[in-house]
Amino acid sequence: MAVANIQVSETPLVLYALRRADDALILGHRLSEWCGHAPMLEEDMALSNIALDLIGQARELYSYAAKVEGNDNDEDKLAYLRDVRQYRNLLLVEQPNGDFAQTLVRQFFYSAFADLYWRAMMNSRDATLAAIAAKSEKESAYHLRHASEWIIRLGDGTDESHARAQGAIEHLWAFTGEMFAVDDGERALIHAGIAIDPGSLRGRWLQTLSDVVNEATLVLPQNDWMQQGGRTGRHSEHLGHLLSELQSMQRTFPGLTW
């Protein structure tokens, strides 16, 4: 296991694409862990389908990051040959699947955001990002509907499913603030019309959450303390374990192709 990590020149645009690519890859990988284990066949297929969409989005974003960077990197190297501290995803998406409720609440928080985010990004002045956004927003709409229906079913289901869904909401809530945070580099991209300000979506995101959570007879937490760190490479312990599995083939057999 001695393959060197690659170095990435993280200009603001490279970092921007890398962050979104990492979100999509890590969440997609998490969902793929359900393949063969979901509570029913339909959900096994649904979660694998969503995983596939997300990994597809990740590939486009990695390829673009590599192209903008202009070095020797490509989508595979970016995914397989960066270590934990080089990953830039949200802490939310690396959280373990837990039970089915936790997986669906995590998906619900993310998809409610991604749906708004990619729709707004379709107006980016960067043609490639706008094209990726146009594909991703269509997929996110399905992901959001799927997760929303499950939140309602679990929340308004049995005492057990209600308690688990409410517990998952409380457990994951502190990881949602990071979706709306921007740093100086990204602020410059927003100013240039390349990125959009995620903060401007927070009101609508909360509205989507409230609508669904109310119908589900669940409640959103009132506390607003938020955990951050993923965007700068400070991750929870869970990401390293995930990467050791995701990267094991390339780390063991460098340059392996199927």
């Binding site: 969409d53 597809g56 590939r59 094209a131 146009a134 269509k138």
Partner: protein
């Protein structure tokens, strides 16, 4: 000069026809032209470049389709053809041909409806059963055997069926 132009358009049609003959490996009754995946065929001398667009970002059939296009073009006499993927404008089921929709129905897959109501978060859809035609049907799962399909069931004839989702 005229002859050269005629010759070019003839060649281009041959290249288009070769690429358009490739079928979707998951739905072999539909060609990539029926699906609206084939976007462009550019001819430069005897060199061909084909542009295709993915249905869904992660559709695993795309690699296979690209390979099959290359093989089809080689067979038609074009050497070292190139296939590139374009993302914009994003693929929509509105690009599926009428003929394609009919072929899908005959194959047992309900064809996509107009995509206007896609945004409704919990919108009701009426999808006719491809077997018996009844509209008394229900959604089982929005995610089916491939990215582009949902799983439905007909309450009249009790048959489950795939619905090619509008996108």
């Amino acid at each position: 000069m005229v002859r050269v132009l005629d010759c070019d358009s003839d060649l281009r049609r041959r290249a288009w026809d070769a690429a358009a003959s490739v079928v979707d490996p998951e739905i072999p009754v539909l060609t990539i032209a029926d699906l609206g995946l084939l976007r462009e065929v550019v001819l430069d001398g005897n060199h061909v470049e084909v542009a295709i667009t993915p249905t869904y970002s992660g559709c695993p059939a795309m690699n296979m389709i690209a390979l099959e296009i290359e093989v089809a073009l080689e067979r038609a006499g074009f050497h070292q053809p190139k296939v590139r993927t374009v993302l914009s404008p994003a693929w929509t089921t509105d690009w599926m041909s009428e003929e394609g929709r009919e072929k899908l129905r005959a194959y047992g897959i309900a064809p996509p409806q107009a995509s206007s109501s896609r945004r409704a978060l919990f919108g009701a859809q009426a999808v006719a059963c491809p077997q018996c035609g009844s509209e008394d049907t229900e959604l089982l799962s929005e995610f089916g055997s491939t990215s582009c399909k949902a799983l439905w069931r007909c309450k009249a004839c009790r048959e489950p069926f795939d619905y090619f989702k509008c996108h």
